[in-house]
């Protein structure tokens, strides 16, 4: 479990970029398989399938970037 969890990345200095973008190189987003828990990279337009076990449900990952909460 612990090896999968990556350290918190602080937002790029000065940048207002507030979305959890893909790692710039690959262009794919990674999701978690609901069955085996493995990270699955899905490109746009690809069918929803776990590459390992073929399961049909994927969960979106919680972003590692900061989500800004507005003070209320």
């Amino acid at each position: 479990m612990s090896d999968q969890r990556e350290a918190y990345q602080p937002p790029n200095s000065g940048s207002g970029r507030s979305y959890a973008g893909p790692s710039a190189a690959s262009g794919t987003m990674h999701y978690l398989c609901a069955e085996c828990g493995v990270k699955v990279g899905i490109n746009k337009g690809e069918p929803i399938r776990c590459k390992e076990c073929g399961h049909r449900i994927l969960y979106k990952q919680r972003t590692k970037r900061m989500v800004q909460f507005e003070a209320r």
Binding site: P22, G54, Y59
Partner: protein, 1093 residues
Amino acid sequence: MVSSTPSISFDTLKRENLFRNPPKDKSAFPALLAAVQPHIDSFNAVTVEGGLLDLARQDIGVKSVFNGKNQNENLGDKLSLRVDKIYIGKPRISDRDKTSLRREIYPAECRERHITYRGRLTVKIGLRINNGSWISQDREIGNIPVMVRSNRCNLENLSPYDLVEHKEESEELGGYFVVNGIEKIIRLLIVARRNYPMAILRSSFAGRGKSYTQFGVQIRSVRPDQTSQTNVLHYLSDGNVTFRFSWRKQEFLVPVMMVLKALVETNDREIFDRLLAVKDRENSFLTDRVELLLRTYKGYQLYTKKETLQHLGERFRIVMGVALDMTDMEVGREFLRKVVLVHLEDPKDKFRLMLFMIRKLYALVEGSCTQDNPDAIQHQEILLGGFLYGMIIKERVEEYLDQIIKEVRREVMRGMLIDFNNKEHRTKIFGKVNENLGSSLEYFMSTGNLSSPSGLDLQQVSGFTVVAEKINFYRFISHFRMVHRGSFFAQLKTTTVRKLLPESWGFLCPVHTPDGSPCGLLNHLTHKCRITTAISDTSSIRKTLVSLGVTSPATASLPSSATTCIQLDGCIIGWCSLKLARVVSDTLRYWKVEGTHGVPLDLEIGYVPESKGGQFPGVYLFSQQARMIRPVKYLPLDKEDQIGPFEQPYMSVAVTPSEISPGESTHVEFDPTNILSILANMTPFSDFNQSPRNMYQCQMSKQTMGTPGTALRYRSDNKMYRLQTGQTPVVRSPLYSEYGLDNFPNGTNAIVAVISYTGYDMDDAMILNKSAHERGFSHGTIYKTEKLGWADEKRRGGTDSKNLFGFVNTEDIEAQIDDIHEMDDSTDEAKIFKQRAYEKLGIKEEWLKTVDIDGLPKIGQLVRDGDAVAVYHEVPKESDAGSTRPRNKVFIYKGSEEAYIEEVRLLGTEGGDNKPMQQITIKYRVPRSPNIGDKFSSRHGQKGVCSQKWPAIDMPFTESGMQPDIIINPHAFPSRMTIGMFVESLAGKAGALHGIAQDSTPFRFDEENTAADYFGHQLKVAGYNYHGNEPMYSGITGEELHADIYIGVVYYQRLRHMVNDKYQVRTTGKISDLTHQPIKARDSVTLRYFAIL
């Protein structure tokens, strides 16, 4: 003090261990599993190898069709069809899917993907051409919904540990179906007791025709496969008797003599002798009528069995829809098999029972016996969901055969030549028949509507299924214990069917029924009540009876001295004198509890003694399915006996050991609380409360914001409530632990002061301590799940996906977005320039605050009304490539409240179709801290609305410095008389002071040994006031209050009705002239309507 084993202590360590290490063998809470057992067992009984489906297919029999064009002379070749096997498979992924490693589908996936948990239905059809040999052919006829945790479910027999592994609760009960992701259960329905002829007085009987009277004897006769056929005997004013039945929703009348003569070879003398015992023959009322019965039948001029059968066969040939080559006599026999007293096989048995029914009818008319009350539980049984499901499958399969036959006939009529030996011809016929039986069962489960040609001998066509709502666990478990009288009775204006009758004692809970329209129609089983799902072994009963001196009808005809008849499941198995009947029933009871002489423990021995104008006497044994049964202690052996509602009115069951009267009582209750349902048992000290308050509590505990379960992560219900800070109650009964309700806390222990303090506590308002609120008291959450996508459209016929999630120009956005974000927007001009840049990309700036580059919302993101939660675009058509790029569009969040994105699920499809993502679900989390206007309630039907969150510094305090979490007004008590709440407050306070859980089982205290003394003493030992009062000081002035204040610990529930869902304030618009209140749109329409009038 307590007879059952579970302790009343908190068992914190044990509980913690169970949470951390779910058992790998079996559930720690067998009582919970037993509560849903009738549902699962009834389903299993249907689908098990050699189960009810097998009996059903035997009952369907052989159907045949001919291929000859001329239906009169040359019939042509005969094709016979029968069902060799009906098989339901476990839910599996379709064979088309090549990528999935694990082929089983589990219920959790169906809930998440909003699909149906179903298994493949296969029938093996047997075919025979003319007199050749049978050949079998498998036909797959669709997928049907399968009950969770049944023997067709992949979760069958899994341990709590394995259940958790499969994303279920550790205490997953099953017993329901998952249809389109929604959990549905088949309601338990009350139906007439099977195989018992009931004497009925019904005014509608008189309206059936000329000379019909209100008198009738009705029997709901049940086949071994659990399908039923009701037969009624009507008394005509001239003394004649007619036999009535309904077949495919049509009613038919036959003179009863015709049925009798068709059943066995008999003569008038024999009928007369068998109908009337020696002492009856002096009764001119009876002799006159029997004579008339025999005399009028002479008009038909049918003397022998053969003639009668032929006559019947000729009349019912079309109605029964039999094969063309059957003789009239065979059709007559088929009629007797399928319609007349179908629970019996042997015509001789049918004949005897029919005579008994005629005799009972005459007794009813004469007034020597009274009517049987069809509304009393004595004459009722439960139609179990699994059995109903099996009945529907049977009917559908039979219909399937009929369709094949119809198809052949249609082709033949059209002049087509059909050669049965030609395999191609056969497959062509099969191909034309609708082979999707699964969809009709799915329709039944999802709508609860029964579309059946026969009506299945039921009084309603809709309302068979309900959603097993998981508002909290109490509501969920109640669904499985719920019995409904039938929607037919809901329309009746009379209240007779709703009455609580003494017969229901111990079987239906007197407390747990809703108020309002379903009151008394929707009842709940007591927690000890069980429903039988299998036939008990009665193979040696007949022999045993003979050894007791009972005359068996198999060996001798009716002896003149014997007048009482002994029936086993509606089959006359003996005659004896009235005196002997009592001995027989007493002896059987002793042996049954003892477990000797082959008398099963769950046999029901209904001994009805002779009375002046009471129930028709006799000994009625019941051993079949669908009976309610409950344990009581049998005194002669000091052992457990199982008793049913038929026998109970004639037994003497003491409620408590002190109530036993020697020589009269035969049984004693194990516990007086056995008459209560699971929920009613959770009301502490309910015997101290005014009874309606306990009813209200049963209702309110089901509407509480509690804990629906622990596997919430894997559920996507439309709306789910969750109490964040649930606690185990200090005051609870041992049953609380027995049912494992600590897994599903439903409220919070609160310090409650009964005082009129702030002035904001009128009319059931209550004050919440603001600091308690800030510490998280009753903090709740609502989870809402929304489905987004186009999967439904595709199913409706569209071939390819027209839309895709995500941005149409992801690459461009990725490349430019950072730069655009950083663009200067200090001046108006720069702002416009920046906006243009976004527009050029086809997006809006605010979208990217809530949506990721994949077009899906960010987990944990706060969203408000109108925020974008998903981006999609149309797929550019290949034909117009190179033209304009499709626009990016968004799904938005609609809701007045702020919500957080909790989970986002990407849903794929089965099969190797390689379709891109067409559906996602978003789960929103709406935090709901207690608010002014929210509803709270104690466990005593004392609900109130929070009117103020009062600052802690202004709250009154005791000498020890305690402040109440909740203040309620003393005026809530005098009129409602919920003394149980006072006792709970006292017990809770003492329990909290000593660190112990308190037993709150009702009926444990009495006048000599009062609850107030018991708990008062505990308080005294802890150094507190004996009566639970304490001096208190005003939080505002610091002065001591003039009266001592009653303060203690009460378990409080937060109800799900919250102002945030309800407030609809408006300041403009129409108001009523009379009341100055706003008029709803609909009301204003009606007002206008009235003005016209």
